[in-house]
Amino acid sequence: MTTSEAALPSTTLGLEPPTRGRGWAPAWMRRHNLQLWIGGVMLGLMVLAAVAAPLITRYNPTTPDALHTLLGPSGEHLFGTDNLGRDVFTRVVYGTRSDLTIAVVAVVAPFIIGLVFGIVTGYFGGWIDTIMMRIADIVTAFPFFILVISLVFILGNGAWSIFVAITCVSWVAYARLVRGEAMVLRNKEFVAACQAGGISPVRILLRHFAPNVATQALVYSMSDIVMNVGVIVTLSYFGLGIVPPTPDWGSMMADGQQFLAGGYYGLTLFPAAAVIWTSLALSFIGDGLAHALRIDR
């Protein structure tokens, strides 16, 4: 059910191919793979802050303080306080724990399922491929978020439901990606050599296919984490995600929205900045990885 890929001719000039559009970093960044470093540092800072949260802030992310509600940013409260008097900086930092953890964990299962599914269909082809790809087509026919939200409706709120719902939907992207790679690999000579040498398909798949195709999937998983963060945050925004008082960027933004009219922009903007920061970091890393693994062209 997918539309055909544009079969654009590639240049035959025996020169360096023009940089393709995948990476977003300019040449000077790419030269030393700076974007991998920058992304790594950006994400590292977040992870570090999340892990060391109790050390870098003395506030509790969930304890209300009726005397200090809706304060603006100050030395005391870096990002100000919310309507219940909680320190927004603290909540943003603790929010990293819940949002990023689920986003990352929710990548693992689809990654593995997609890898197995994709390798098997790509390697064996034939009717297995036809049937399994039809299943993938059906899942992709549903808009991503609509299927996720319907699944959450069925499963109920909370981290576990989000995790299951995302897994049910996002394995397809991995499967397609891996299948494509596997089909290319299958036709490579070393596979024929292995087959001729009587090496079992399982061994071929594990030894040669998995590592080769996994790198592609790994790069994709970075943008998948970004997507997951978006999904979690949006679900929480609709009140279908992480249950309060657990700090979470989505519910913080949802709560903060009603204060926009009153001029309290920070309540919405700081968690939003955290989301954007995370996405930027991950897309830097994704580009950097692609560059490092030489699959960005």
Binding site: P64, N157, P245, Q258, A261
Partner: protein, 518 residues
């Protein structure tokens, strides 16, 4: 009757549980805009959509408040909610034996199809609401028989002496529809309703907007002044506020409390709170241990800092509740001393209970309701101080109602309002096991409450009734089946071009009095 306002808005549940009344300027919009003029189209943005315009069907405010504009009732609630005023009925009288009421009707009222409003229509209408599947049938269950001595007189015979009947007749569910739905089926009538009210139905695009237009032949001469009113559905409170600011709409129902301050600073917008019968509470399931223990419930009610919640969540728009009956009814006991906030006392009370060192429990809140979420988090932190460990659970609003009905919860917020000016029905609904939903889902049962409620409704003299109601309020305060939190006003923000908008305590918009300046 009362109903729990359940589904307030899909996403950003606006003022659902909260909105309180320090009710500074409850005078409504004055006539300061000059003398009333006719004409104009008003747009009112609301969080919720009406579900049905057939008077005997819906229980949600979004439907009810439109029904009240389309149809007339025999009597109308007074603006302050403390009595009823004539409407289709010009006078009414209880018989000497107190077992019947006679209503004399005006003769100049006509339905929008031109047909005059007669006593036969009244009988048909009340009978619709007496059908078993009508949610408010119990209100009319006291009526055993109706007589129509002439076309404009109705006699209601009651099972027992029934003081609240004139107030019951003001209920929207007892709205007068043409006999036999003017020859239509109920569902056909529901999609093109005919009433005798100030406005007549024009069209309804489900999910988007519902428009009513001026009934030029309305019996109250000179009203309504507006040409049309459009009710739009805008779930997001921010969007409603911005639409008002940009002049797209005239009235914003329930602006977010947090935005009221900034709204008040805008030159073209008025914000007003109107006394409402709404009472917010924290429900407890007394069938479950350890909430079955009175000392536990009492400790909880002492541990909750209602003032802090009022300030943080309702922004002071409201009043901490002492009694379960709201001040909008004459039965309210203002002298009642409820369990006040005192952490030390709460600890002491809990120490006397079956769980002296605390326990773990849950509060279930509707998903997407930020106010409930804030309230729950504050309660959670308050109760933590006396050793009660609360986990917050969320359920989608409909599932939460189901869970409450099934007794499948520990604690949950709720609210109740009344559509009837007489305290009888709300006193039963929120205070007795059989008067509604098992004493607001708590499962609390008290024979004494039932007896007092019966006494109050039979007595025709107000002081006897008041004494009974005072006693009921005391019993509820002693037994704490739920923690009454706040009396909450209705909050509306509207363009300064809108005049005369003053919803009543029972929520009625009284749109026939509204007019717009150019």
């Amino acid at each position: 009757m009362t109903r729990t306002k359940t589904l307030r808005g899909a996403v950003v549940v606006v003022a659902a549980t909260a909105l309180a009344a320090c009710s500074s300027s409850s005078g409504g919009t004055s006539t300061s805009g000059g003398s009333p003029t006719s004409g104009g189209s008003l747009v009112m943005a609301r969080a919720d959509e009406a579900t049905s315009l057939l008077p005997s069907v819906p229980t949600d405010n979004a439907s009810i408040w439109i029904i009240e504009e389309l149809y007339d009732t025999l009597t109308t609630p007074a603006q302050d909610g403390k009595g009823v005023t004539p409407s289709l009925a010009t006078s009414w009288k209880q018989s000497a034996d107190k077992l019947s009421w006679t209503f004399h009707m005006r003769t100049d009222a006509k339905f929008t199809n031109g047909q005059p409003v007669t006593s036969a229509d009244v009988v048909f209408s009340i009978k619709q609401n007496q059908k078993a599947d009508a949610p408010f049938s119990f209100i009319d269950s006291v009526v055993t028989k109706m007589d129509t001595p002439d076309a404009h007189t109705v006699v209601f015979h009651t099972k027992e002496p029934w003081a609240p009947l004139p107030a019951d007749m003001a209920l929207y569910a007892n709205s007068i529809v043409p006999k036999n739905y003017a020859g239509m089926s109920a569902s056909a009538f529901a999609s093109s309703p005919i009433g005798s009210g100030p406005f007549k139905f024009k069209n309804w695009t489900k999910g988007s907007s519902l428009t009513i237009v001026k009934n030029a032949k309305y019996w109250k001469k000179g009203t309504p002044r507006l040409d049309s009113v459009e009710f739009t559905v805008v779930p997001d409170s921010n969007t409603r506020s911005t639409q008002l600011a940009s002049g797209q709409i005239g009235i914003n129902e329930y602006p977010a409390n947090s935005s009221i301050k900034s709204l008040q600073n805008q030159p073209n917008i008025s914000v007003n709170t109107f006394p409402s019968s709404e009472v917010d509470y924290l429900g407890m399931n007394t069938r479950r241990k350890p909430l079955s223990d009175l000392n536990v419930r009492k400790a909880i009610s002492q541990a909750i800092d209602k003032d802090a919640i009022l300030k943080a969540v309702l922004y002071g728009y409201g009043k901490v509740a002492n009694a379960y009956l709201s001040p909008t009814t004459w039965a309210h006991d203002s002298s009642l001393k409820a369990n006040t906030y005192d952490v030390a006392a709460a600890k002491a009370t809990l120490a006397k209970s079956s769980v002296p060192h605390g326990f773990s429990t849950t509060i279930t809140i509707p998903s997407g309701d930020q106010n409930s979420s804030s309230e729950a988090q504050l309660v959670q932190s308050d109760l933590a101080k006396i050793g009660i460990n609360v986990t917050i659970k969320t359920l989608d609003p409909a599932a939460l109602v189901t869970a409450k009905h099934a007794g499948n919860f520990d604690m949950a917020f709720g609210l109740y309002t009344t559509d009837i000016v007489d305290p009888d029905e709300i006193a039963r609904f929120a205070g007795t096991y059989d008067g509604g939903v098992q004493t607001l889902y708590s499962g609390f049962k008290s024979a004494q409450m039932d007896k007092l409620a019966a006494t109050a409704s039979r007595a025709s003299d107000q002081s006897t009734r008041k004494a009974a109601y005072d006693q009921m309020q005391q019993i509820m305060a002693n037994n704490v089946p739920y923690v009454t939190l706040f009396y909450v006003p209705g909050v509306y923000s509207y363009s300064k071009k809108v005049h005369g908008f003053q919803p009543g305590a029972t929520g009625n918009y009284f749109l026939e009095k509204v007019w717009m300046s150019k």
